[in-house]
Amino acid sequence: MIREFVKYLFYFVALIVLQLLVFNNIEFASYVNPYIYILFILLLPFTVPKVFLLFNAFILGLIMDLFMGTPGVHSSATVLMAYSRPFVMGLFSPREGYQSGTYPRMAQFGAEWFVKYTVMLVIIHHTTFFYLEVFSLNHFFNTLLRALLSSLLTSLIIIFSQFFVFRK
């Protein structure tokens, strides 16, 4: 239990540092910015209480907001994404359900399940994030394009991370 806790605390810190140091510096023509810190919400075990999930998402979003100087934008998007997580899981649930002792990883549920799960939640987060950031419906399609292109890049990075980091 304690080991689990320490492991997830490490993921939490490592993802924040990675996002701030590496991924915030990636952008193509101000259209594509990956926000990979949400991988933390994707990785949390099935057994995590739902309320704790929301609380985690809020703290994570708030830390991002503090570092990037955007009051409320990251936290709103991340909390909405965490709220949708149980529903997305239900939507893509395998025939025998999610058994105890399993984790939401590609190695355990297969590539197809993981890709669907990731892409769905990343799109929810990024669409909310980019519209809240612009905070107007002017340039509607421009914002949509930015959200979708960034979702694509974030999803790709997260899926690749499953091959290299979270192999078991």
């Binding site: 023509a29 101000s30 809020f58 907001d65 503090l66 570092f67 009051p71 936290s75 709103s76 909390v79």
Partner: protein
């Protein structure tokens, strides 16, 4: 009452979600300029030191580029020295002359946090009110304009970047002096848009755009960029696309300009508009 408790127990996930999401949106919507400044100051306290560390590391990668820029600027300054001219008359003014009145004072600072990918971008500098930086001062570097200081804490300053939809600067076409407001439309970090240039003015691709000096924040003649495209909008005015001379993705050392005339200009203009 028991029904209420049962309702809460049943829907605690939804209720808790609504509370947190409302709070987040409250943070977002309720941030009027004053609260934004408060948030930025809190943000600086929290992340200022970390940003300094990161920027120290990042500096190593741009040393070569910065060195070249410094060398170029040194050469330019040497060219302006009195000793670079042969004086026809030795009784003319010299830089320390008491007849000359100082208009601008330059403070160098370093960018420790910067973004180009948002719609409202801000830049953080490593100097603040203790170094003499005040809100409303102009920020430039060798390549052109960067922004205007928005808020300061004792050791840090937050700068409204040119790449911010709230930013507007009065600009003019260098060759004929026609001026208009120049702003950023929030798309590419390489282009700004100049409007209100009447249709009879001759413009051409490649024309230089500089600051007009109106308002007293920016000195006159600071480079902004060159015209890359223009079209008539509504038949009477040009909408001109300006390729920015500054690469906002690799800002490092900047100059903050204190204008000694702005207070006087402002008070005069306020007095006459009342």
């Amino acid at each position: 009452m028991r029904n209420l408790f049962r309702f809460i127990a049943q829907h605690h996930f939804l209720i808790f979600f609504l509370i947190i999401e409302t709070f987040s949106l409250f943070l977002l919507i309720n941030s009027n300029p004053y609260q934004k400044v408060v948030f930025y100051n809190a943000s600086h306290k929290f992340s200022g030191r970390a940003s300094v560390r990161m920027s120290n590391i990042r500096d190593y990668f741009s040393l070569h580029y910065e060195n070249r820029k410094l060398a170029e600027e040194n050469a330019r300054l040497y060219n302006n020295l009195n000793s670079s001219y042969s004086w026809l008359r030795t009784d003319s003014v010299f830089p320390g002359d008491t007849l000359a009145r100082r208009k601008y004072w330059y403070i160098t600072a370093r960018v420790i946090n910067n973004s180009v990918n948002k719609q409202y971008n801000y830049i953080t500098l490593d100097k603040g009110s203790e170094s003499g930086i005040r809100p409303e001062m102009a920020v430039i570097n060798t390549d052109g304009i960067i922004g205007i200081v928005k808020s300061v804490s004792p050791n840090y300053a937050s700068v409204l970047s040119f790449l911010n939809k709230d930013f507007t600067v009065n600009a003019k076409i260098k060759k004929n002096g026609y001026f208009g407001p120049l702003s950023w439309l929030g798309k590419s970090a390489d282009y700004g848009t100049l409007v209100d240039i009447p249709h009879h003015v001759r413009v051409a691709e490649g024309d230089t755009i500089i600051t007009s000096g109106f308002g007293g924040v920016f000195p006159e003649g600071i480079l902004i960029g060159t015209i890359s495209d223009f079209k008539l909008k509504g038949g009477n005015y040009y909408e001109i696309k300006v390729k920015l001379s500054n690469d906002f993705k690799k800002l490092d050392y900047v100059k903050v300009i204190r204008s000694f005339e702005k207070v006087e200009i402002d008070s005069l203009e306020n007095a006459s508009s009342q």
